[in-house]
């Protein structure tokens, strides 16, 4: 696993762009990112952000959705084109539609305001890790209880084959591949469904079956977590 600390030790300093119109938010995000050894640039609106993005390459972009001159999610496209930083969007708690739209547009994750620094940095780490993973070969996930070999499409729960249906495996594969990252309903439906119509209701049913097969306590899932109104997230249960 490659994380910011490793990258730093190898001499690469990560570069972050914060786009938010609230000075107070920018200030504490900056303080946290600097403490985590990022180089930080700031912008208060889309125009400023585009100027900065054109000038340098960023590893991480933190975008507020409600900017004075538009929706921060509109930045995702141009930024990806410019080299693809990990993107975290900041949004209001009850603004699911815009969150989902941003994620579908390519954002890696979101944080709902208000949030603490610890939560924010956890998301940042997951997003960066995922970005690195995408460049390497499919790994094997193993937390002692559940193990998934993405290359060989093999799943073991407590050493036994849980006999997943193709759909359930498809879901698990996609979730594990993006470990730590929220996947929207639409993402899961298009990636894990391959042909055949399906709706969110069907997705919920399959997730429930999947949980029953891989979770220790299916009623209190610790691996496949629900992001209400947005989608699902696979978190590592590795100690």
């Amino acid at each position: 696993m490659s994380d910011p600390a490793e990258k730093r030790s190898s001499g690469q300093r990560l570069r972050a762009l914060i786009v938010d119109d609230e000075a107070a938010i920018r200030r504490f995000l900056r303080s946290a990112l600097i403490a985590e050894a990022f180089d930080v640039d700031e912008a208060g609106d889309i125009a400023g952000a585009l100027r900065l993005a054109a000038a340098s390459r960023f590893d991480l972009a933190v975008l507020d959705l409600g900017l004075p001159d538009g929706n921060g999610a509109d930045l995702i496209g141009p930024m990806r084109a410019a080299g693809g930083p990990a993107v975290i969007v900041l949004s209001a708690l009850d603004d699911e539609p815009r969150k989902v739209a941003a994620l579908d547009a390519g954002a890696d994750d979101f944080v709902s305001k208000p949030f603490g620094v610890a939560e924010f940095m956890a998301r940042v780490r997951a997003a960066l890790r995922h970005r690195v993973q995408m460049q390497g070969s499919p790994p094997v996930y193993d937390d002692g209880h559940l193990s998934v070999d993405l290359a060989r499409r093999q799943v073991r729960v407590g050493g036994v084959d849980p006999r997943l249906t193709p759909r359930e495996y498809g879901l698990l594969h996609e979730l594990v591949l993006h470990e730590g990252k929220v996947l929207t309903h639409r993402h899961l439906l298009t990636k894990a469904w391959e042909g055949g119509e399906a709706d969110v209701q069907a997705l919920r049913v399959h997730i429930r079956h999947l949980r029953q097969k891989i979770e220790v306590r299916p009623d209190q899932p610790s691996r496949v977590l629900t992001e209400p109104g947005v989608g699902y997230r696979f978190v590592s249960d590795r100690a």
């Binding site: 119109d21 609230e22 000075a23 107070a24 938010i25 200030r27 504490f28 995000l29 303080s31 946290a32 600097i34 403490a35 609106d45 507020d64 959705l65 409600g66 900017l67 004075p68 001159d69 929706n71 209001a92 708690l93 009850d94 603004d95 305001k113 208000p114 949030f115 603490g116 620094v117 610890a118 924010f120 940095m121």
Partner: protein, 885 residues
Amino acid sequence: MPESAERRPSPDALLQQAKAESRGKLKIYLGAAPGVGKTFEMLSDARKKRLEGVEIVAGVIETHGRSETAALLEGLEVLPKRPLGEPGRAVGEMDLDALLARKPEIALVDELAHTNAEGSRHPKRWMDVDELLAAGIDVWSTLNVQHIESLNDVVARITRVRVRETIPDAVLERADEIELIDLTPDELIERLRQGKVYAPDQAQRALRHYFAPGNLSALRELAMRRAADTIDEQVRGHRKAQGEDAPWAAGERLLVCIDEREASAEVVRHAKRQADRSKAPWLAVHVETSRSARLTEIERMRLSETLRLAERLGAETATLPGDAVAETLLAYARDQNVTQIIVGKAKRSIVFEAVFGSVVRQLIDRSGSVPVEVIPESSERSAKTLFPLSAAWPALTSRGVAEALAMTVIATLVAWPLDVWLGVSNLTLVYLASVLVSALTRGLWAGLITGMASALAFNWFYTQPRYTFTVADPDNVLAILAFSGAALIVSILAGRARQQTLAARTEAKTSRELFGLSRQLTSAKSEDEAAESLARYVARAFDVECVVLARVGFSELRLAGASAERLDLTDADMAAARWTAEKGEPTGRGADTLPGARWLFLPLRTSRLVAGVVGVARTSPLTRGERRRLAAMGDQTATALERAHVAQALEQSRIETEAERLRGTMLASLSHDLRTPIAGVLGAASSLRAYGDRHDPSTRDGLLASIEDEATRMQRYVEKLLDMTRLDAGSIQAHLEPLDPPDVLAAVVSRARKLDEGRTIRLDVERDLPMVRADAALLDQALFNLVENALAHTANGEIVIGAARSRGGVAFTVVDEGRGIAPGDEARIFERFARAASADVRGTGLGLAIVKGFVSLMGAHVSARNRSDRTGAVFEIAFSAESLA
């Protein structure tokens, strides 16, 4: 700011709203004739609106050289006309593009029916207006009834003047509001005489032709009916939108033709029975021809009463213009998918029909597949129209007898000198004349008495032998007998003529009452106004006490109008009224139920329901005729009540929607303005905790300052919210005391300087200002909010806080060097949650609303405008002369 998460209405609702919002609203000032004051009224309204801060621009106003109207233009923004045509004989037309570019909230466009000069974009002005509406601009315009296309023929026939400039009826029907500008013919003629409408020589000609009183009455009625029709349609449209229309059995649809004859009511009732039997909807239609202008007032009343009857019985009614009655009816019937036509047949001789043709015949000939049912006029009805002899016998009084005898004495005195020249038998003519006068002026009894006395007097004075009652000459016996016979016939005929005159007079009075009432009802905006009108009219017409009770729910009644402040209505009376409302039948004095009560209650009935109850009380009971008149007035009022009720319901739902919208905005503001600082505080605090020692001292300091700032911001927001809530709850009271303006400003400035130390805040106070009666805390907070607002809207530049004498009072001003106020926003910015269009300013959207609330509590006035010397805004709190201590 846009991030705020507003509650989203359903897409459908949004779509509808967008449709309604994007298009401007059209208001038409409708008048019966030139000179009634449409433009005057429109400009008066415009001035009022302007004072409320609405941005109004006059696209084109035709003053026709009337000075009163021109005076109103002063202070209104009037766009210059666009010159057209060859130079030298150039004509000016409204500059549509300039008006579109100017984009005011309301545009005034006079004379909707105007035809544009060649070279304009549209041939007609109403098309220009259509474009303005499409651009989202509200338009007020004026229109005379003769310019409405469907009425053009009728008007031409009434006035013998054909108007070429017409607008399609659809334009009028699309109007969101129609204001009828009404002037009685007498008033209008008076205005003409005074030269207020045309130059004197023109006026004389106009008075002889177009403005003849008869023409004006007819035009006026057309205008009123047209305005009322449109309102009715709007109400009906609403009902439909609410899905209140009952489902009809498919297919059947009846049409009944109505004219001014009395028998029409019978035909309508027949149609109702038919419609009920086949469970079909039915239409009652009257065709208005040029003949309609010649109807007597009584006939017109009867016609509208028949139409109302049909409406009450559940018909959809319509008045169609057109000269070929049968053709118009059939075209309408086809258009409305009518399956059967019902028509009454007048009793006319075969010869009459052979000469003049018959509508019924034409209908039958041309109706094609649609069956026509002909209802013959019942013979019973024609019998009724015979003169009722009994009515001609007024009570015999001794004074009446004396007067009748006096007529004989006078006849004798007149005949005396004539005796010398005339033959005796010719003298009977003198006596006959006296009989005629007596019967005409005093009735049948008087005529008979005068006749008998005259016969005796003639016998005594003039037949041989004179001064005896004996008659010698058989010729004279014949003369006396002939005279007596003639006197009897003359008495009866003259008595009947008198009776008919009286009846006509009463009917005319009834029509006048109803006409006056309907005028008031048309303008009534609420149930109570309609009810008040009825109560006042009834009280005056019958000399009674009158109450009007409007229905609330099924069985409750509410006092909506009364003729006097205090009326003696007992619980038992109210119970009787409720019974009337529930059963739809009269109760109380003179009715079948509770005939012993003091009050008589009649139901106010529309086709769908009993809208209320009218109650009258008088020492003597109402006569049958009076009850009929009362019922007719009640019918009119019932419809008005229902209309007002629907209108009120509409208004109520509009208010609720507005409240809903405000709640939504409020929630969005709360979620954004409270959450954002919380996010800042939480983030900074968690960063400090997580990386405490890894932050350098200046970062730590910055984070702590950020916590402080954001908490202060939150505090200010909560304060404002509380202020607003207290304002709403009405729990703030202004304690007015004399304040010294420099003192007030000094406090504001010292508080404001703490807000933003980097900015220049300058004081500019006129010397020796008088003391101002105001509330120290409210004024301080209002000014502080203004300064805060100025700071938020200007990145840099000086802010000047001042006080100076202004219009007899004292004005406090806050002047900034920012970008100023977007045109048209001067009033809007004082609404709550209204923020400047540029979204880079952070504010609660409450500050200015609070200023407005506080300032009006102190009886002062707040306004905003742009600086005239450079960019920037001026906010002013003005205290009038009365507020000076």
